[in-house]
Symmetry: C2
Subunit: 249 residues, 2 copies
């Protein structure tokens, strides 16, 4: 798949000091947040949304506003295939149905999810690299250091992305296991803040710890908190802001 | 053992905005740091030093200065029995020699250390409670909320202290295992930030994770970083400052 070299902007709004531009890059729908009125080069954070969510899910927007207003960064997110404004993918639907049947028949969920995410990542890694190319050509973004934030599906897709993309200088990952991505994780060398929910009902604790263990980074921090998959405490966003500030400037 | 109700101050210095007062409370030698010129009630952090260290070990002083200058807290530390300015304890020496012989004969080190720390804690818990009583009677400390910071030996002694002492409202613990203190850990209900060194050569990783797991607190965060027992990264002190600021005010 090839992508046009520049974004087509479809709408623009501004609120609370944050400029939000919806765009498409070929078939990819995306959103770019920057400080209102800002010009010139700045760090850029790419965010991968969770499974069943989309580029403007409330938690993605909340996080983007923090990174823009507190750090002056640009933040970009695009819909993952078969999510948000993108069309269904027949192959994914077929696989999801098959997996559901396998789990009903007693198969373990986690390895199936990991395999599925690895397959989706083969599409999203080149998509996200094309997004970086195009966004960094904009005058109000430029070619500054890049960060990545993604948990759950955003971790399953983020691990191979961060491993492949040398522009990424720091990543927040988590709520994911080592099953499909240990090999890619071992190739990651940038600082990582890795989130584990101690009582995660979807990702077995040992799988999450194993993915943290597999990361090749010299500087990596595991932050584990009690509670379910969806229960990351608010203070972890404060921590992510400081983590990126430390590594992206 | 009973203690006098007030401290005897033996010396006082001031540097970089921090007032340092050496004191004794009966046979206990201690040190109190407060903001220079400060009066009135403020949060108090008690710090437990590591094995073989003392109340004014460099990392204890560094941490105390941060808590005083950035948060305006009072910070207190006393020597653990057989450490710093305190006399040797024959029973400890005998046990240490016995344990050394057991390890040489193939015994595991961790359970012996845990047992030893549990024994020392039977002395330090009442000592530290008496220190809180006396320090909180001072006009420039008062009866504000109390925090505890201690890793390694400071965790082995800190877990039973925090479990026993209702004045403690938040604790940073770590580099310790669940072997001797799981039962006390389960009685802790205040927020805890818990540090694990992923490659700790003294505390097996599983023991550290088990102690975090055993903590009864609803709010607890595990921070794990690569590296050996003594290699806690500097950014964890930044995190501890913010953790106490969040919980002690």
């Amino acid at each position: 798949m090839s992508f046009p070299s520049s974004l087509s902007f479809t709408s623009e709004t501004s609120s609370a000091g944050v400029r939000e531009q919806l765009f498409s890059l070929g078939e990819l729908p995306g959103v770019l947040w920057t400080p209102a009125g800002a010009a010139g080069t700045r760090p850029l954070v790419l965010m991968g949304h969770g499974g069943g969510q989309h580029k403007k899910a409330p938690d993605i927007v909340t996080r983007a506003h923090r990174f823009v207003t507190e750090c002056g960064y640009a933040v970009v997110a695009v819909d993952v295939p078969a999510h948000g404004d993108r069309p269904k993918v027949e192959e994914y639907d077929r696989l999801a149905a098959e997996n559901q049947a396998r789990v009903a028949a007693g198969a373990e969920l986690a390895p199936l999810v990991a395999e599925f995410q690895a397959m989706v990542a083969r599409r999203t890694v080149p998509e996200w690299r094309a997004v970086l190319d195009a966004v960094q050509r904009l005058g109000h973004v430029g070619t500054g250091p890049v960060g990545y934030w993604g948990v759950c599906l955003g971790c399953g897709l983020g691990v191979p992305f961060v491993a492949a993309e040398a522009r990424v200088r720091a990543a927040v990952l988590g709520l994911g296991g080592a099953l499909a991505s240990a090999e890619a994780a071992a190739r990651i060398t940038v600082p990582v803040e890795f989130l584990v929910q101690w009582d995660d009902e979807r990702v077995p604790r040992a799988d999450g710890l194993a993915l943290f263990d597999a990361l090749g980074s010299t500087e990596k921090t595991l932050h584990a908190n009690p509670g379910p998959h969806g229960g990351i405490p608010a203070y972890e966003l404060d921590s992510a802001v400081r983590f990126f500030a430390r590594h992206l400037g």
